[in-house]
Amino acid sequence: MLHFDRWKIISIIGTCLLGLLIALPNFFSKETLAGWPDYLPKRQMPLGLDLQGGAHLLYAMDTAELKKDWLLSLKDDARKQLRDAKIGFSAAGVQGDAAQVRLVKPEDSAKALVELKKLIQPVGNAILGTSGFNVAVAEGTEPGTFTLKPTDQGVQERVQSAITAAIDTIGRRVNGLGVSEATVVQQGRDRILIQYPGLAEAKDIQRLKDLVGKTAKLTFHEVHPSTTVADAKSSRIPLGYKIAQSAEKADEPGSERDYLINESVIVSGEDLVDAQPSFDQQTNAPIISFRFNQSGAVKFGDYTSKHIGEPFAAVLDDKVVTAPRIISAIRDGSGQITGNFTVESANELALQLRSGSLPAKLTIVEERSVGPSLGADSIASGRTAGLIGLAATAILTVLAYGTFGVYAVIGLLVHGIMVAALMTLVGTTLTLPGIAGFVLTIAMAVDANVLIYERMREELRAGKTPIAAIDSGFNRAFVTIVDSQLTTLAAAIIMFWLGSGPIRGFAVTLSLGILTSVFAAVTITRLLVSMWLKDAKPRSRTLNVPV
């Protein structure tokens, strides 16, 4: 129990030195580290936002909007499918959470069902396996009607791919801002977390929010050729049309210009291949000039050639930006959007259009931002408290346990270094609660040593020989140490599992600290005591154990 083979001693010391090497970079600034030779590890522990300052923004995606868009496109797909199969239908619309079609001739039902079922796709993919289908086609309550209803799995799959696409898009937008150490990750089913360290000013954070918050969904719609908005409002909105507000601010509130536009999309921003801010040649106002890809250009060309002389609307995020008349067919897929742009907003919008539009609106559900001054203060106070805590513990331990107390303190230092090394290796973020957790593990590390030494003293008082007492101290205490530390570990694991952000940092530091404190108490202290024993035994007959 107290005998350590040579190779064991070497491996223990080696582990400690390795830990020191890994933990060392944390104590130097990045500039100093750059000057070190390459074979030395240089990685530092990532600092949490509460220590380095930055923005933490949690966005939720509007899944209702996603679903609605999907239903609209399902409706259009259904119409196309039936039209191609030459099955007449009298109505196609969206009702509640399903798309509906009504056939002219109920006798065509069987054929229609076959055609409509072709729209169903399996959920999942060939590699990971499929699990159900995305849409359920069923006959409606009246003969000759059909409903196309998205299944739960279908919606889930759609939301998931939307989130993945959104993360991509946001990544591009954020990188477009310049320096990028931002992380954009998914959280839960329909949320996205953006963490942007080092974001200093409040206005920079606002810029980030503006950049991400805008969906930038650009769609082009037909404006109803005959019915005016006033007529539609007073009598009835024609089927398949909706009223959209103008993006321009009117001179008097209440007199915003509205437009009656077709719900269906002629061509959308997804087909944009480029968008650049520019200036109108005549008015010098900021505009956006854009270019469609091949399929977009074809759709655009087809539409414009068939509707010369009619107005069509460019809708950005549900508001009509501009509604010019079509002068001639535009076949090369390029165009301009004029509107109430400033130079900044045109730049921003062009960036957003280039990065791609977000599938649906994102709203901030949680924001935690820390300015750099608070971050620096927190590091300073954390460091001071940690050092003082360590010093107080060391003094108390040495006072209470003499030479063996000194060995325990060495163990404490090893514990501290190993925690830092583990955190650097694993890459866990250090937060302010994490520092508190580390300071706590120092106290718990002492507990392990106290258990061992108290037991030693007890055995000595009971008259056991010194060696037996020392041995017994380590033996009997080990079980207790494991039991008590494991229960704290259980609480820490639950905290990690259910917590988020700073709480997680605390839980991780606490857990790692418990592991290393047990290691320090049981291995390091035992090693040092055994070396004391080896040194002392040859000298005296009766040992005076300095504990």
Binding site: I364, R368, S369, A436, L440, E458, Q485, T487, A490, G499
Partner: protein, 319 residues
């Protein structure tokens, strides 16, 4: 000597103490039950001063760019915005202030809009050190996970103690833990200290520390049960507690010293958290002695360990 010259430590604690803890067990146990009930009453009537994490709304920590924070002026300016109840308090240094805006009716966007209005109203005289905006969806989730975390911890710990010891130990530990959590929460409610995520983290850590303490005492009790088969149970419990007293005191003192360092030097942000921990350490130690042990006495525990139904105790360690 090895590395340092030999010297003994100061043995703080008189040994062979026979402090009659168990004599006062009914009194203390009764007192503990009273405190638990009181805490429940306080929590039920006064409720918690929930932080932004659980209540939603916005929290902005500002620092005056020059001089001290003029809180009355800030209050006038912000109350004029019509955003409902706005609390402003001093925080840390005289130049710092904490502005709390309650959750606005409506969805997440309203919270953001309100926060923007406040920031604009404060103007350039104040620098934002920290902003926290929590919408209704996230705050209700955090409330739920907070409660689940505490309950799950208690259950997990109870399961582990049951696994390692007899069920009576587990029962004692659970009551002690419930006591610790309730009384700490009660203090927070009584003084209306801010109750947020870090408070929950503190509660969970207190659970860990308290059970740490209880397990050490339980381990000694188990050992003595085997050693002194004929000793009366209350006397044996007393002996076990006295024997572990030196360790309890020393570890407690060290932990408190470390926490005091954190409390005074760790900055205002974690002060609430450190206070909870400090309180919890004291309560946790108390509960190990005056709740877990008496329950063992009340429940009785079998003394005959000669049958092999006990969990095997690893006899020794191989180096």
């Amino acid at each position: 000597m090895f590395l340092v010259p030999d010297f003994k430590g100061i043995d703080f604690f008189p040994h062979n103490t026979r402090l009659p803890f168990m004599r006062y067990k009914t009194l203390c146990f009764g007192l503990s039950l009273v405190f638990m009930a009181l805490s429940l009453v306080v929590i039920a009537t006064k409720g918690f001063n929930y932080g932004v994490d659980f209540k939603g709304g916005a929290l902005i920590e500002v620092r005056a760019t020059s001089g001290t924070a003029d809180i009355p002026a800030m209050r006038d300016k912000l109350n004029a915005l019509g955003l409902g109840d706005i609390q402003i308090q001093s925080f840390g240094t005289p130049a710092d202030a904490l502005v709390r805006v309650e959750q606005q009716p409506g969805s997440e966007e309203e919270q953001q809009a309100a926060m923007k209005k406040v920031v604009e109203a404060l103007g350039s005289g104040y620098e934002q050190r920290r902003v926290e905006v929590v919408g209704p969806a996230v705050s209700s989730e955090l409330r739920r996970t907070g409660i689940i975390a505490v309950l799950a911890s208690v259950l997990a710990i109870m399961a582990y103690v049951w696994f390692r010891f007899e069920w009576q130990f587990a029962a004692g530990v659970v009551v002690a833990l419930a006591h610790d959590v309730l009384v700490t929460a009660g203090i927070f409610s009584l003084f209306q200290m801010e109750f947020d995520l870090s408070t929950v983290a503190a509660l969970l850590t207190i659970l860990g520390y308290s059970v740490n303490d209880s397990v050490v005492v339980a381990d000694r009790i188990r050992e003595n049960l085997r050693k002194y088969k004929k000793m009366a149970l209350p006397e044996l419990l007393n002996l076990s507690i006295n024997e572990t007293l030196s360790r309890t005191v020393l570890t407690g003192v060290t932990t408190i010293a470390v926490l005091l360092a954190l409390f005074f030097l760790g900055g205002a942000v974690i002060r609430n958290f450190t206070f909870a921990m400090l309180f919890g350490v004291i309560i946790g130690t108390y509960s190990s002695i005056f709740i877990a042990a008496p329950i063992l006495d009340y429940l009785g525990i079998k003394r005959d360990w000669s049958d092999a139904s006990t969990k095997p105790n690893p006899g020794g360690m191989r180096a």
